[in-house]
Symmetry: C2
Subunit: 253 residues, 2 copies
């Protein structure tokens, strides 16, 4: 008899930000297939005797190709195992969880889901910067700043350059200069505040407060690395109740 696959969002990193369902599913699984962004503390919550299969993706270094990940999940489920497919953040927002689910479902394997707190939500709660706020942002949009090898970053800057929306950019470190220029070209003010958060909610969390027109230089100077996300918009002005300029001075040393 076939097993099944739990598609689990592990959240942003801090184990306390897992949902009760994610924890229950992880502890019910006898095989755990996990990404690089899942923290050691979370992985350690697996059931005694469970078999761990890393398929982690690093930027520009896909250790296991997506097709092979799909096959591993299918093989393990067909062998009768209860498989936890553990991903950072939420499996249904970026991260290709729905591609894996579609593949498995097409092959007759049952898939159950546990949503996860996104890195943006984690960063919001750890910094106190909301994603919407009356008078500052009436909506929030998540985009990815990653581009495929040898392709240009093809984002619709005109739609994204909205002063009344909080823009959250995932996987944007490598292209953040191009992103800032694209937004400013479509008239998002260079003074728009930006909060960059690396490894949000973990002991290694790093924060940088900047503004759109200084962002690329500040990110380079601070040597921020992936995974870092960017929260762009007026909501960042609420950071720690202090004016942005004052924080900028600190960030600039």
């Amino acid at each position: 008899m076939s097993g099944k696959v739990f598609l689990i969002g592990a959240g942003p990193g801090n184990p306390e930000l897992m949902t009760l369902r994610a924890l229950r599913m992880l502890q019910d699984a006898d095989v755990v297939v996990y990404d690089r962004l899942v923290s050691d503390e979370i992985l350690a919550m697996h059931a005694d005797g469970a078999r761990l299969i890393p398929v982690g993706k690093a930027p520009k270094c896909h250790t296991v190709p997506q097709d092979r990940i799909n096959e591993i999940l299918l093989e393990e489920a067909r062998a009768g195992h209860t498989v936890a497919r553990l991903k950072g953040g939420d499996p249904m927002i970026f991260g290709r969880g729905s591609e894996e689910a579609a593949y498995l479902t097409a092959h007759g394997i049952a898939v159950e889901y546990a949503p996860g707190i996104t890195a943006a939500q984690g960063a919001s709660c750890s910094t106190g910067v909301p994603l919407t706020h009356r008078g500052l942002a009436t909506s929030v949009q998540y985009v990815t700043g990653h581009r495929q090898a040898d392709k240009v970053l093809d984002l619709d800057w005109k739609r994204l350059a909205d002063p009344d929306t909080t823009l959250v950019v995932y996987m944007g470190v490598a292209n953040i200069g191009q992103i800032a220029i694209g937004l400013m070209t479509e008239n998002l003010p260079g003074s728009t505040p930006v909060l960059a958060v690396g490894k949000a909610t973990t002991p290694d969390e790093r924060r940088l407060v900047s503004r759109l027109d200084h962002l690329a230089a500040d990110v380079r100077e601070a040597d921020l690395k992936a995974p870092t996300l960017f929260i762009i918009g007026k909501v960042v002005s609420l950071y720690a109740e202090r004016p942005v300029d004052q924080i900028l001075e600190q960030a600039h040393g």
Copy 2:
């Protein structure tokens, strides 16, 4: 000595979708100030002897004004209590959590946060419809379809009518006809599939699959009520792996 306030996202309704932190904070509190959208099962997890204060907001019927909610939180914290401020979804996305936090912080009260799974994430995982999917949606945007009394619904239809984005509309039931027309006027195709989910992740969850040009009629016919959210975009075509037209037939009886 002053107490403190835990600003807690209770998630979409199913108690299993709370985070471990949300549960811990709720159980540590001796006063619980909660919204109408928080489910009874979640509320029941409070500590023995905790005092419960409902401040629930129903549409067009704010039982306790926001200013008074702020005062209650401040008074309880100043009286030395550990206060759980329990909200549906995520406190930093809509829901005015950051306004309460700003008020409390300005008055010297410590605020700690627990993020929550949004209704959109809950609906995504309960229906299998992702919020992004390669080739269907490269980004996701959350907006609110609620308008203040006596004001027109003032959304930037041109920015929102993006065929490559998943648009999630909160608080949109009352104005869904106007929203659909606004999007179609800016050339989002009338055939764009839409998933409406009421009370996502709870035993009372209701689903309606429709398309933009039939949406208002279908919502009226199904008599959907708040809280219902709308997921608008090509990702909805993945619903249950069936072609949208087939589901539409079912929805239309």
